[in-house]
């Protein structure tokens, strides 16, 4: 969920009202926002860096507001204020318009771009008036879009330029890195693209984007008719065409691997900032000419009509509103609506700020928000059903109780562990046949899904050495095993594991517990076949030689028990003898 930082005083000025923090938070919550924190630039710097660095930073109150991840139109002060004012019926949402100039600016796309970043969309904002707050918001919005819908610039990258410093038509090409040379934003010298990539490899913000194009043989680049480089997306703009407070005419280009998102991004920037144009809420059209001669016109700033059926929305939400109130509810959510005469529907105009509306259910939600979630009458579903437990869970719970009755303490350990936990620490080779391996663990503790519970219990003993001895622990839970016959290539298996740790090995105690479990499962200890179990001497690396047995149920080995090998004990930084058993519970279902 993105969080935006908004200066409180500017916000209240734009909203035309002053709120207490609590009042504003309540307004936020009713709209699906959340006032996450009340802070200031000074506090933020001093929290994130150090108090000394915060010297001189502004003390102005900042609201940190959580924005739903699909509401790109709320990521800056301009959009947030419009939305809240419309919500409170204090203004009507403006209508955004595309202006067709006689000689539209052209962007010529070269075929090389297909290899790396095939799409570009563009538009112009004419005669803009910036001040420092608007300028900062303009930069901030681009950053928020880059971090969220643009997926860290991989899907879409935005470039904004002072149109009066460059001359169309523009060319969007992809060239070998050595062939791109320009003075990048805030650099003092001209560098080659290769050199720039090198320079930015240590740049706090930019280094994260380098991998998007680094290994490509060609890098995307946009130039003007005089060969001046506007930008090398998605990394950096040129210094020449940079925006300043004095910039009047802004050329905006978005290069992308996802055309739909490029349009959403372009629309969002235009809708938010066209209010500062002398001809308010307008943007000028550009032509994008593809190598095959196809011409596409941007921005789209498309309005779409949807209808909402009164009966459907009422029955979906469990309310009973008439057409007029449905219409005004939707209108208050920036979805201008009218009642279609002599029908049972409301016609909704979905504006280019609301790309999140993709289905009627999205409109239903907005009706519910306008209505107020907490005003919707509570009802209970009439669904009549009979409850039931999953058999393996029901059996597990009964066994857990029996083990606890025997004086063992239940623990709850992690399903993920290190490779060593399932191999070397138990004196076993790593079993590639049955172990599920994780490709992107953040720490060594999450390399694999565990194939046994024993190592988790040993870790628990190790972390609780201060507890009185003997320690008697158990866990009944799932391990994960690779299984080629399963749809996903792996399955869970329910295991029971118990451990005794004390001055003596206590083998007879875990043995007795195992017998008790069998007794409770009504299974006889007998050498005869049938519903019986047997104990047979076995050899296993994890157990002390001669002190290990397999547990056989209906002719199949379901687990092992014994005195743990001293090297296993020491591998878990323990010093005393220890006995354990671990069995598969599933055969008893």
């Amino acid at each position: 969920m993105p969080t935006v930082n908004i200066k409180r005083d500017l916000l209240f000025e734009a909203l035309g009202t002053t709120y207490t923090d609590e009042e504003f938070d309540n307004l936020c919550i009713s709209y699906g926002l959340e006032l996450d924190e009340v802070t200031s630039e000074k506090q933020m710097v001093s929290k994130e860096q150090s108090e000394s660095k915060s010297e001189g930073a502004s003390d102005d109150t900042i609201y940190r507001i959580d924005i739903p991840a699909n509401r790109y139109d709320l990521l800056c002060l301009e959009g947030l204020v419009d939305a809240l004012l419309v919500f409170q019926n204090k203004m009507e949402l403006p209508h955004y318009k595309v202006i067709q100039s006689k000689k539209p600016l052209k962007v010529l796309v070269k075929s090389n771009t297909k290899q790396i970043r095939p799409y570009v969309v563009a538009a112009v904002l004419r005669d803009v008036t910036f001040d420092s707050a608007r300028y900062a918001s303009f930069i901030d919005l681009q950053d928020k879009l880059h971090q969220n819908i643009c997926r860290k610039r991989s899907l879409v990258a935005i470039g904004t330029h002072d149109l009066d410093t460059i001359q169309g038509p523009f060319t969007y090409d992809a060239l070998p890195p050595e062939d791109i040379k320009f003075k990048a934003l805030n650099q003092t010298e001209v560098h080659s693209a290769a050199k720039l990539m090198d320079i930015y490899s240590t740049h706090a913000q930019l280094k994260q984007y380098l991998s998007i194009i680094k290994d490509s043989s060609v890098y995307p680049v946009i130039t003007d008719s005089n060969g001046i480089v506007l930008s090398m997306p998605p990394i950096i703009n040129g210094h020449h065409s940079r925006i300043t407070l004095e910039t009047k005419n802004i050329f905006i280009e978005c290069t992308a691997t996802d055309l739909k998102k490029a349009n959403i991004v372009l629309d969002t920037i235009l809708c938010m900032f066209s209010k500062y144009c002398s001809n308010k809420y307008t943007a000028e059209r550009c032509e994008v000419v593809y190598p095959d001669g196809a011409v596409k016109l941007y921005p789209e700033l498309k309005y779409r009509k949807e209808t909402v059926n009164r009966k459907k929305v009422n029955s979906y939400l469990g309310i009973s509103e008439n057409l007029d109130s449905l219409s005004s509810a939707l209108s208050s959510m920036c979805l201008k609506s009218t009642v279609l005469k002599e029908s049972d529907v409301v016609v909704v105009e979905v504006p280019p700020t609301r790309h999140d509306i993709i289905h009627a259910c999205d409109l239903y939600e907005d009706v519910a928000i306008a209505y107020g979630y907490n005003n919707i009458p509570k009802t209970l579903p009439k669904t009549t059903t009979v409850g039931s437990q999953l058999p393996i869970n029901s059996l597990s719970d009964k066994i857990r109780n029996e083990i606890a009755y025997c004086g063992f303490n239940e623990v709850l350990t992690f399903s993920l562990c290190s490779k060593d936990d399932v191999s070397t620490k138990l004196r076993k080779p790593f079993d590639t046949q049955s172990t599920v391996r994780i490709s992107n663990p953040k720490t060594l503790e999450f390399q694999v899904a565990r194939t046994n519970i024993l190592s988790g219990l040993l870790k628990t003993v190790s972390a609780n050495k201060k507890m009185p001895l003997p320690m008697k622990l158990f866990e009944v839970t799932d391990v994960v095993l690779k299984d080629v016959t399963s749809e996903v290539g792996a399955r869970n298996e329910r295991h029971v594991c118990a451990i005794y740790y004390g001055k003596t090995p206590g083998f007879e105690i875990v043995h007795g517990l195992m017998d008790r479990i069998m007794q409770m499962l009504n299974i006889k200890f007998s050498s005869e076949s049938g519903n019986t179990y047997q104990i047979k001497a076995a050899n296993d690396e994890t157990y002390f030689p001669g002190r290990c047995a397999q547990i056989i149920y209906q002719g199949n080995t379901i687990g092992l028990m014994g005195v743990l090998h001293p090297e296993v004990v020491t591998a878990y930084e323990l010093t005393m003898p220890c006995s354990a058993f671990e069995i598969n519970l599933e055969p008893f279902l």
């Binding site: 606890a404 628990t460 799932d478």
Partner: protein, 486 residues
């Protein structure tokens, strides 16, 4: 000395101090205390007021100084009138201390011209030895600073004595009847219990701790959650599959392939088994189309849906992956259904006091014709009331597979504030219709973590104290039974 002797002594004296008695009679003080305690246990025969006193005692080293003289005097005496090389002087016992003491007292001096230690004064008095003799004779005439100095030199030590002043109690007697501690079989058989006086029990102390086994606190809470679902007629879903394909974990839920949750920063992907293969082909195509082009009244997301992305195996990030499988199965022969599950899910998160890489997700799902958002709100009120949360409210939220989506907040009386407790919503038509569920069927669902309400309930601040190998076993043993409504 036995009890009777002591009582007779008390009878003649009227009162006495146990330490003084020990000194006088040469009986070990602890033995006397033992006798006193045994009499006290019989009732109000005597009174005993604790007295604390301190005195100085010579250490073994102090005793040897009395015998052999102090180190500095011995060292002074070892210096001949024409001096002695320092090295030679240092060979006498305890010379190091003696030398520094003698130097600081100004008794000796090192003559650098001849490199010898010389006497500086004509004669010395062994004050240390005299003081120690004084102390031993209990004539406490020595200044406090000197005492501290001797203490520092480990020649004396301070001893604290805890003794009792014994007096006659209201039930004083010199002849005591021995009280029986426990009722025995013999007494019952012989009937002697009728005339036997018994020692009173001490009800101030706790009984003997039981060597009890116990269940884990979080799983005790799980039991109650399961109970609530079962009472409300929910069927438990088979969630015993931690490995899941991206298709079922994300795509089936209409979660777009570029969604941040599908990033390696948030989700555990697998090296082995890396991919899933066998998908229901017809359904998969419908999912592909609804993502890329839309349908069922939806615009879709308008991107190139990739099968390779859907094949990637993950450790499931939510049990909703299982709900999706169940709903897909249900679509074949739909009937109104309630599902629930409580099981582990996995997130590749940065760990902190409230986040682990795995947690227990609680999930409830109801599928029926014409369910409403009001039904969801009603069922959540009922569910959370059973958990003891009577005041709840909802906040609009965003979730890729539910619309409307609602965050659930509950008012915590103890913390005096609203806290977020779970998420809920109605599954999107783009998720349900490709599965083949009838158009009029709506599905309402909610989810929460099991850990969060448990931590709030038991006031546990660090999740590691509750889950994992570093669990506090004492807490596990002492944790009360789970009563969610208390």
């Amino acid at each position: 000395m036995d009890s009777e002797q002591l009582l007779k002594f008390l009878d003649t004296k009227g009162s006495f101090n146990t330490w003084d008695l020990s000194k006088e009679t040469n009986i070990d003080h602890q033995k006397i205390i033992g006798v006193v305690k045994s009499i006290l246990a019989l009732g109000n025969i005597i009174t005993a007021d604790p007295v604390t006193s301190k005195y100085w005692e010579l250490t073994d080293e102090g005793e040897s100084v009395i015998l052999n003289g102090s180190y500095e005097v011995n060292l002074y005496n070892a210096v001949p009138s024409d001096g002695i090389p320092q090295k030679e002087l240092m060979s006498i016992p305890n010379a190091k201390i003696g030398f520094s003491q003698a130097m600081s007292k100004g008794w000796i001096v090192i003559d650098r011209s001849i490199n010898k230690v010389m006497k500086k004064v004509e004669s010395v008095v062994d004050k240390v030895k005299e003081d120690l003799m004084e102390l031993k004779a209990s004539r406490d005439q020595i200044s406090e600073s000197d005492k501290l100095d001797y203490k520092k030199r480990k020649l004396i030590r301070e001893v604290v004595i805890k003794s009792f002043t014994i007096g006659k109690g209201p039930e004083f007697t010199t002849s005591i009847v021995k009280l029986e501690t426990e009722l025995t079989t013999e007494m019952i058989l012989s009937g002697s219990w009728k005339s036997t006086p018994f020692k009173p029990y001490n009800f101030e102390a706790l009984g003997q701790p039981q060597s009890a086994g116990c269940l884990h606190p979080l799983l005790k809470v799980r039991t109650d959650f399961r109970q609530i679902f079962l009472e409300m007629g929910f069927t438990e879903m088979p969630t015993n599959n931690f490995v899941e394909s991206s298709f079922w974990n994300f795509d089936a839920l209409f979660q777009p392939q570029q969604h941040p949750a599908r990033d390696s920063h948030d989700t555990f992907f697998l090296d082995d088994p890396q991919n899933s293969e066998n998908f229901p082909q017809e359904y998969l195509n419908k999912v592909k189309i609804v993502h890329s082009k839309g349908g069922y009244g939806s615009q879709g997301y308008g991107y190139d849906w990739s099968l390779d992305e859907a094949k990637k195996n993950v450790l499931r990030t939510h049990t909703t992956a299982v709900s999706a499988r169940m709903l897909y199965g249900l679509a074949k022969d739909f009937k109104p259904t309630k599902y629930f599950s409580i099981d582990r899910v996995f997130r590749n998160e940065t760990l902190d006091a409230t986040h682990l890489a795995e947690f227990q997700q609680v999930e409830g799902v109801i599928a029926d014709y014409n369910l409403t958002l009001g039904d969801l709100i009603g069922v959540l009120h009922t569910f959370f009331e059973r958990l003891g949360m009577t005041e709840i409210k909802f906040k609009p939220a965003y979730n890729p597979y539910t619309e409307p989506s609602m965050e659930i907040f509950c008012y915590h009386q103890g913390l005096q504030k609203w806290i977020e407790i779970g998420n809920s919503g109605m599954f999107r038509p783009e998720m349900l219709l490709p599965m083949g569920l009838p158009e009029k069927v709506n599905v309402i669902a909610w989810g929460l973590s099991l850990e969060r309400p448990t931590m709030i309930k038991y006031g546990i601040n660090n999740i590691r104290d509750l889950v994992g190998p570093r669990v506090n076993l004492q807490m596990v043993q002492d944790n009360p039974i789970c009563r969610l409504d208390k």
